[in-house]
Symmetry: C2
Subunit: 403 residues, 2 copies
Amino acid sequence: MTADLLLRNVRPMGGAATDVLLRDGRIARIAPDQRVESGGMENVVVEDGGGAILLPGLVEAHTHLDKTLWGMGWVPNSAGPSLQDKIDNEREKRRALGIDPARQSARQVVQSVAKGTTAIRSHVDVDTVVGLAGVEGVLATRERLGGICAIELVAFPQSGLLVRPGTLALMEEAMRLGCEVVGGLDPCGIDRDPKGHLDAVFELAQRFGRPVDIHLHEAGLLGAFSMELIFERVRALGMRGQATISHAFCLGDPDTALVERLLAEIAALDIAIMTTGSASRPVPAVARLAALGIRTCAGSDGIRDCWNPYGDGDMLERAMLIGLRNNFRRDEEIALALDVCTRGGASVMRLPDYGLAEGCVADLVLVAGESLAEAVVAHRERKLVLRRGQVVARDGRALVTVP
Amino acid sequence: MTADLLLRNVRPMGGAATDVLLRDGRIARIAPDQRVESGGMENVVVEDGGGAILLPGLVEAHTHLDKTLWGMGWVPNSAGPSLQDKIDNEREKRRALGIDPARQSARQVVQSVAKGTTAIRSHVDVDTVVGLAGVEGVLATRERLGGICAIELVAFPQSGLLVRPGTLALMEEAMRLGCEVVGGLDPCGIDRDPKGHLDAVFELAQRFGRPVDIHLHEAGLLGAFSMELIFERVRALGMRGQATISHAFCLGDPDTALVERLLAEIAALDIAIMTTGSASRPVPAVARLAALGIRTCAGSDGIRDCWNPYGDGDMLERAMLIGLRNNFRRDEEIALALDVCTRGGASVMRLPDYGLAEGCVADLVLVAGESLAEAVVAHRERKLVLRRGQVVARDGRALVTVP
C-alpha cells in the first residue's frame, strides 16, 4: 500500500483554496485537512500547492505519437502545399530520417506528461510501407509508459485504405494487436471512393466492436457530403456515441444553414468533434457545439513532424489557441476552451471516473494562475502532474526520462 | 567611453557561428575574433553566446502601452461582443480600475524588453474622458525607458474623432506634446462619417508633417471603401510611404479580385500593413504582401487589457501566431513571419541603421534555436537583449525593474 498524498493549499478549478487528499489513486477528500495543524500526518506525503490551480489532467485527444521528430534535431520542412504532397513527403521522410516509432512516441509522451497531459488518443499510421511498425512501436511505448499516461490508439490509414491494396488487412491486424479505435480519413479526397472507404472503416469497427475516429479535412459541401455518409452508417449500424469526426472543417463553413443541419445530426447521433483550433482553416465553432451538447475534444495534431513544425504538446497552450481562434475573450469563454482540453477529451476517450470530485481518479495537474482564464493565457510551467495519485512530473519536467 | 562588447559564438540569423564586436552602440565587426585566443582583450567585455541565434531586435509595431492591465492582477473580461461594446467597456473600466498610463506603459515596456523587443510603436488613447493623461503617461515612460527601447507614439482617437466633440483639439495637443504619428480608426464604423474622419486625420498629419496609422477593422466591401478613401488622400496629399493601415481585415476577404485591386494600390502608394495574425478574423496574406513588396509589420495589439486577455508581448510568439494563421510550414515561410516581426517593423517605424550588418545599430536579441524556424516555433527565453550595444535583459529578465 502506498502512502496517501495530501495536496495542501490548492484551488480546484481556480476556486477557493483547500486541501485534496489522494488515496489508492483516487481523490479521497476535498476539504481543509485538520491533521496538518495537529501534526497527525503519519503515512501521508504532503505536497504544498502554494495556492496554485488544480485541474483534472489535460487530455490530448488527437495526436500522432508515431511520427513526431521531437528530439531528433530540426528537420527543415520541404513538403509541397497539397494534402497528397504532405502524405507522400512524410512516407518518404519516415524512412530516410529513421523515425523510430517506439523511441519517438516515448519522447512525445514524456513531453506531454511534463505539460500536464494524463491521457492521449493517438492515431498511428498503418500503410503498406510502414506496415505495422508504427503500431508495434507505440504499443511498446504504451507498455512502458502507460503508468504515467493513459494511451489509446487509433489504427490510421494515412495513405489511404483502398488506394493502396493491402492496407485493409494491415488495419485489421492493427486492431488485433491492440488498437482501440478504427481510423479513417477524407473519404472523397484520398481514396476517391467515399462509399468504399467508409464501408470498410465501419465494417472493421463493427467486426471488432470498436468506435471510429475519422479525419475529415474536406471543406464545404464535399465535407458535408462525407459527413452525411458517416451519419448514415452511424445510424444504420446503431453506433450512436461511438464516432468521432476530427477537424471537421466543413463545420466552419460560412453557410450557417448547412452547418446547423449537420450539427443537428451530430447532436442526435452523439458524434464527437475534435478540433485543434486551426488558425488557417475554417473550424467548428466551439461555443455552438457546447450549446448543442455535442461532445468536443481537442488535440495538438502532429507535433514537430513532417506535416507541421509547430507545437510542443501543451494542451493549456492549445486551449489558448482554441480561444484565439474562436474569439473567446470573456473568462467563461476561455474556461470553455479549457473544458474542451480536459473534460471534453475525457468524454471522447470515455475515461472512467474523470474529474475533480471525491472518488474520481487522481489524474491531476497543478499550475500557477489567478483564475482559470489566466492559467490558459499564461500556460505557465506545470508545478506538479499526478497520474493515479502518483507524481509523474514536477516543475515542468517529467520524472521519467527517455533516450 | 564605454568598453567594447564582444558577442562570442553567436549565429547571426541562424547561420554559421561567429563573433560580433559592438562598439559605440553599433555593430563594429562580424567575424571570428582572434583576440579571444591571443588573450588581448583589454577594455572588451565578452559575452558567450553559446551558439545561440542572433537576431536584430524584435519590433512591436502595434500595441497600446497606455492601457494594459499587466501586473494589476487578473481582471475578468466582461465586455459585450461588438466593437462599440468594447470601446465603451474600456472607457468605463479605465477609470474604475485606476489604470495609470505611466505605470502600466512602463510595465509593458519592461516586459517587452525581456522578450527581446527593442522598438515599440504604441497607439495611445486620446478622448474627452481620458484627455491627454494617456499621452502624458506614456511620454513619461518614454523619458524614463527610451534608453532600453525605442518608443514611437500614435495619437489614437479610440472613442471616435468627430462623434465626441473636443477630441480633435486634444489630438492636436497630443501631436504637439510629442506623438509622432496621427492615428485613426474605422472611418465608417465609429464616427459614421468616413469623409469627415479621414479629412480630419489627414489634415492633422499634414499640419504636423507626420505620418498616419489607421486601425481598419472594417471587413469586406466596407473596409475596401474606407481603404479607397485613404488611397485618395495619400495620393492627393503626396503622402506616399507615410501611411500604415493596421489590421486591414478587408484584405483577407475571399473576393481575391477585390483584394488584388486593393493590394496593387497599396503597393503603388507604399502604404504599410500591420497584422497581428488574428486567428478569428480574415487577415491579409503575409506571403502575398511580401511578393508585392508591401512593407508589412506586426504587433501584439493590446496585451492583457480590457479588450483582450491574451498575450505577453513576445514578438517571437507573434511570429509563430502569424505562421499558424498563414499556414506557414516550410522554413522559409516561417522566416518570413519572423522578418515581419523584425525588419518589417523597422521599415514601418523607419528605424535608422536597423539590421545585422557592420555599421548597424546594435539592437540585438540572442535566443537558443537550431534554426530560425525553430527559434520561432519554440520561442525560448531570450538569453540576452541589447539596446545600442548595452545589455538590457538577460535570461528572460529585463535589467531595469519597475513598480
